[in-house]
Amino acid sequence: MKRARIAHQGRAVWAEVVDDGAALRLPDGARLAAGQAHWLAPVTPGATIFALGLNYADHSAELGFKPQAEPLLFLKGHATLVGHRGATPRPADADQMHPECELVAVIGKPARRVREADALAYVSGYTVACDYAIREYLENYYRPNLRVKNRDATTPLGPWIVDAAEVGDPQALTLTTTVAGEPVQAGSTADMVFPIAGLIEYLSGFMTLMPGDLILTGTPHGVKFVAAGDEVVCEIEKVGRLINHVEAQR
């Protein structure tokens, strides 16, 4: 099953994606054509949002970093999220703003001190994120700093959450990104430095992961700077195709 969060008749509701993605079934059973949907980021209110830096060796090398001994994690708030077909503002001085296609694991039940071998049982579903970075705003304090990674509407998420059972092995999925139609990222989740199960073991080793929490698992190589007006498409096999528009920040 695929679950989308949409704005409908004045409130946010979860809807089931049906008819091969052509329609959404609303909580009251009514159907809405997918083209009519106002997509919101599919996230549980209050959920903790984890993200990974340098979790693909080829992307680390591209940026000049050595492999990490421990996952490089950071957190995001909810104002940075934006739904499918939403707009992301590009500041006028952000010449080095680039998209990062990432597989997102959604936690399904409380996880504390979970072993890697058991960890995928704690994942209820997957979605897609485009974790934009603006390299001009990087500073070497709690890097990547929030001025880079927690700007409003710079983390498109969606279009929906796919049940984990429909995805199978999360470490065997292709990821691609296009910017204005040009392919700029093409990778495989097989190349993660810390796979999802290992990340859950690491995080649950010092805190409790809760249902709805999201783990954005990092991005492969391919740094392409975007311009206002670009359509950016991040797609992950078996999960979804997330569309975002870059617009000039006012």
Binding site: T48, L72, L73, G77, N140, Y141, Y142, N145, L146
Partner: protein, 203 residues
């Protein structure tokens, strides 16, 4: 109440920056921070009112930083309420990478009760006692960016939303606490924060 994220500000204490001095111009930092150095405490850091802070067996001692929390009333920087907060973390010397493992453990953010915010609050000392003995005292006049400046500078690159909580800064000389100790944080005009540190219950 808190409906959104909890944001904190590191390296916002003049005394701490002065003590770090030239180190902030050396690798890995290269230069002193320009923007506020923010971090996020996840919802699992919040515990019930008056609950103990659980200390895992691997931590013999934690840093317990008393500060002021501001609850945002709208998305434009209006403050709806204030509380005392104790930002607990595993001591860490490096500010280069986000201190997730150090700052985000369950129950690592005890809060006091909420009261109306009055700008005059910022002039009162924040006093911390452990087992009744005064161990720390500081004033928010030590902040590099005071409340108004913080809200303006953070608002320059992201929206603090209604229901978010902002911790205004941490004293660089924050006290340490161990299992078995009780701690209180007092500030004129706000309800006193009481907590204690206990060994984490076995899973």
């Amino acid at each position: 109440m808190i409906a959104g994220a909890v944001y904190g500000v590191a390296l916002n204490d003049r005394q701490q920056l002065a003590a770090l001095g030239e180190a902030l111009s050396q690798p890995p930092y290269a230069r002193p921070p320009a923007a506020p150095v923010l971090y996020i405490k996840p919802r699992t850091c919040l515990s019930g009112f008056g609950a103990a802070v659980p200390l895992p067996p691997e931590l013999s001692e934690v840093e317990a930083a008393p500060t002021l929390g501001l609850l945002l009333a709208d998305d434009a920087g209006a403050i709806g309420a204030a509380c005392l907060a104790l930002d607990v973390c595993e001591p860490h010397a490096s500010y280069y990478r986000p201190a997730i493992r150090q700052r985000c453990r369950d129950g690592f953010l005890p809060l006091g009760g909420f009261a109306p915010f009055d700008a005059a609050l910022a002039g009162a000392p924040i006093v911390t006692r452990i087992d009744g003995a005064l161990v720390h005292r500081w004033e928010l006049t030590r902040l590099v960016r005071g409340v108004a400046q913080l809200l303006a500078d953070i608002g320059g690159f992201m929206t603090l939303q209604a229901g978010d909580l902002l911790l205004v800064g941490l004293p660089g000389d924050a006290p340490r606490a161990r299992a078995g100790q009780s701690l209180s944080v007092e500030m004129d005009g706000l309800p006193t924060l009481h907590t204690r540190f206990e060994p984490e219950a076995a899973a």
